[in-house]
Subunit: 330 residues, 2 copies
C-alpha cells in the first residue's frame, strides 16, 4: 500500500488495521513494498476478477462498515466461484471520505478479517486514497483453477437443464425491506430478506464442483432472467424457464402471496449471488448427488432450447411478460 493519505497518524492506524490481514501471505511483504509476489501452484491457472462498489449505488450509507467490507469481498468471491475457481488472495483500493474516521476503518477491516477466516483468503496489497465523493472501493480477487478447466457462459447446449442454487429474489426483496418499502408479517421474514441483501452468501463450495459437470455457469447478480439471457446470448441458444419452479424462500413466498407483482422483482432484481448453470440432462443424477453431498438446494427451473428466445412461463405454459429492462433485449 504505497499510496497513503497524509492525515497525521492515519498511516499507522491503517497499517494496524490492514497489515494483520496479510499474515498468511509472506509475499504481501506486510504491505511495505510497491507490489506483492506469489508463486502459483503447479498445474493451476490463475483466475482473477475485479469489482468496484460506490456508496449509494452498491451499498446503503446505513450499512455497517463490517457488512460493506464483507459484501465487497463476497461479490468477488461469487465471481470466482462462478468460474469454478478457488480464491486465495485479494488487493483492495479504498477511497475514504473526510467523514471516514479510524473507528469506521477498524470495523471495515474487522469485517474483512471475519470473511478472510470464513473463506480462506488473505489481503495481498492495494492502496488507500481520499475522495471528496462517496466512499468507493475496488477489490481484485485471485483464485486458482485446474489447468485447462473453467466454467464460462458460452457453452450451454440445447437440452441442458437450467439449474440454480439456493433461493432467488431474497436479495432484491431484502433491499425493499431495508428501504422500508416492504414489510412482511414476521420479524424473522423481514430479517431473513434484509440479511440476504446486506450480506451475500457466495457459493464457493459449489463452483469448483461444477467443473466437468456444468456446461455454462455464472452468478446471479443482474437478475435471474437477465443473467440467463447472458448465458443464452453467449451460447447462441434460447431457454424456457418456469416461474413455479423457481426456488423461493418462505419469506419471498409470503411476499408474492401479498403482492404477486413482486415476482417481477424476484426474477429481475438481482443481488442473489446464487449460481445459475446448465447441465446435460444425462447428468441429472450427478446433480442430485452433488446437492446431497454439499447439502445445498439445487433446483432445475427450465431447459435450454435451440430457438433464440427466452420464454418465461407459468404452469399452464403461458408466457409471462416482464417489463424490466435487461433481459428483454434478448
Amino acid at each position: 500500500m504505497p499510496t497513503q493519505s497524509e492525515k497525521p497518524g492515519e498511516f499507522d492506524v491503517i497499517e494496524a488495521c490492514f497489515r494483520p490481514l496479510t499474515k498468511n501471505i509472506p509475499g504481501a511483504f506486510s504491505l511495505t513494498d510497491d507490489a506483492a509476489v506469489f508463486t502459483p501452484p503447479k498445474n493451476k491457472q490463475i483466475v482473477v476478477t475485479k469489482d468496484a462498489m460506490v456508496a449509494g449505488v452498491h451499498f446503503l450509507e446505513t450499512d455497517t462498515p463490517e457488512n460493506i467490507a464483507r459484501k465487497l469481498l463476497r461479490t468477488n468471491l461469487s465471481d470466482i466461484a462462478a468460474m469454478g475457481g478457488v480464491s486465495f488472495g485479494y488487493l483492495l483500493s479504498t477511497a475514504w471520505t473526510n467523514d471516514t474516521d479510524i473507528t469506521w476503518i477498524r470495523k471495515f477491516a474487522a469485517g474483512l478479517a471475519a470473511d478472510q477466516e470464513e473463506y480462506g483468503v488473505s489481503l495481498l496489497g492495494g492502496d488507500t486514497v481520499r475522495t471528496d465523493g462517496p466512499l468507493t472501493f475496488s477489490l481484485t480477487l485471485m483464485g486458482t483453477l485446474p489447468n485447462g478447466q473453467v466454467l464460462r457462459r458460452n457453452a450451454a447446449k440445447p437440452g441442458d437443464l437450467i439449474c440454480v442454487s439456493g433461493t432467488i429474489g431474497d436479495g432484491a426483496l431484502g433491499l425493499l425491506v431495508a428501504l422500508g418499502e416492504l414489510t412482511l408479517s414476521t420479524d424473522q421474514h423481514n430479517e431473513d430478506l434484509n440479511d440476504r441483501y446486506r450480506l451475500p452468501r457466495p457459493r464457493v463450495s459449489l463452483g469448483p464442483n461444477l467443473l466437468g459437470l456444468a456446461n455454462a455457469c455464472l452468478d446471479v447478480s443482474d437478475g435471474l432472467l437477465a443473467d440467463l439471457s447472458h448465458i443464452c446470448t453467449q451460447s447462441n441458444v434460447g431457454a424456457c424457464v418456469y416461474q413455479h419452479k423457481i426456488p423461493v424462500s418462505s419469506a419471498a413466498q409470503e411476499a408474492v402471496q401479498m403482492d404477486a407483482r413482486l415476482w417481477e422483482k424476484i426474477v429481475s432484481g438481482g443481488d442473489d449471488y446464487e449460481l445459475l448453470f446448465t447441465v446435460p440432462a444425462t447428468q441429472k443424477n450427478l446433480l442430485v448427488k452433488l446437492a446431497e453431498r454439499l447439502e445445498m438446494k439445487l433446483t432445475v427451473i427450465g431447459e435450454i432450447i435451440e430457438n433464440l428466445h427466452l420464454d418465461y412461463l407459468d404452469q399452464n405454459n403461458n408466457k409471462i411478460i416482464i417489463k424490466t429492462k435487461g433481459w428483454s433485449h434478448f
Copy 2:
C-alpha cells in the same frame, strides 16, 4: 466486465472501447465472463500491484483523457518495474461521472491502447460503475518475476551506493508549470516539465535488469528523500545524499537558478517515477555497464550508512534542512 451502468447504448460502446484492448489475452474472454483466466509461465512468480487515482487528487481535471489513462497505467508499471517484474496484464475499474460522455471514454481507451502497444500489456478484465463524486479509477497490474527473485525496500546495506535513474524533480516542477505557478524562460523547458508531470515514464527496462545487482529498490513517487527514508526504515540503515549529485534536467536547473528554494520541491515533490536503488560499491562497474547498455542515465547520489539517520548534504558536507513532511519523520 460484468457490472455495467444502465445508460442505454453505453454497454455496447464500452464494449467497443474496451473489448479490443483484450485481444492479446484469450483468457480475458473478450470481457464476456465474470473473471479472467491466465496460465502463469513456468518458473515464474506473479507480481501484482493496485493503485487508485481520483480526479483533483492524482490528476487534473484539465488533463486529457488519453493522458489520465496512460498515467494510471504507467504509475502501476513503475511499481512492477521497481520490484524487478515484467508486466503483462491489468484489470481496470472505472467510476464515470454523469459528465463522462462516450467521446471521453473513447479517448481514455485510446490512451490505454497506445500504452498497451508501448509496454506490451493487455486488458484482462475489470468493471465499470457510475459515481456522483469525482472520476475515480483503480488499476490492478500483474507481471512475472524469475522464481525466488524480487527487488524489495528492505535489503540496503551500509556501504551501498545510492543510485537513481534519469532526472529528479521534473514531475513536481511540472505540476507547478501546469498550475501556472512556475514559468521558465523557454517554451521547451516549460513543456519538458509539464510533460513529465502529465505522463510518467516508468523504467520498465531498468527494473528487471537490477535483479541480482541492486540490494534495495523502489520507484520515486512520494519524493526522493521520503522514498529514500522508506528504504532506510525498511532496511534499518541510514543514508548520506548530496544535493549537488542529484541529477536534474536543464529545465529544472533553470528553475533552481531562478529560485534556489525549488530544490526542496525537487527532492520532496514526488511524481518522478524514476527508480531509486542501492548497489554494493563493489558492483559499480556493472552499474556503469548497465547504464551504457540501456542508454540510460544512472547516477550515484550518496551512500548507505550504518547510523540511522538520513543526511541531506551540500557540497561542503553541511546539512541542508528540509521542512516538507514525510522524510523528516525518519
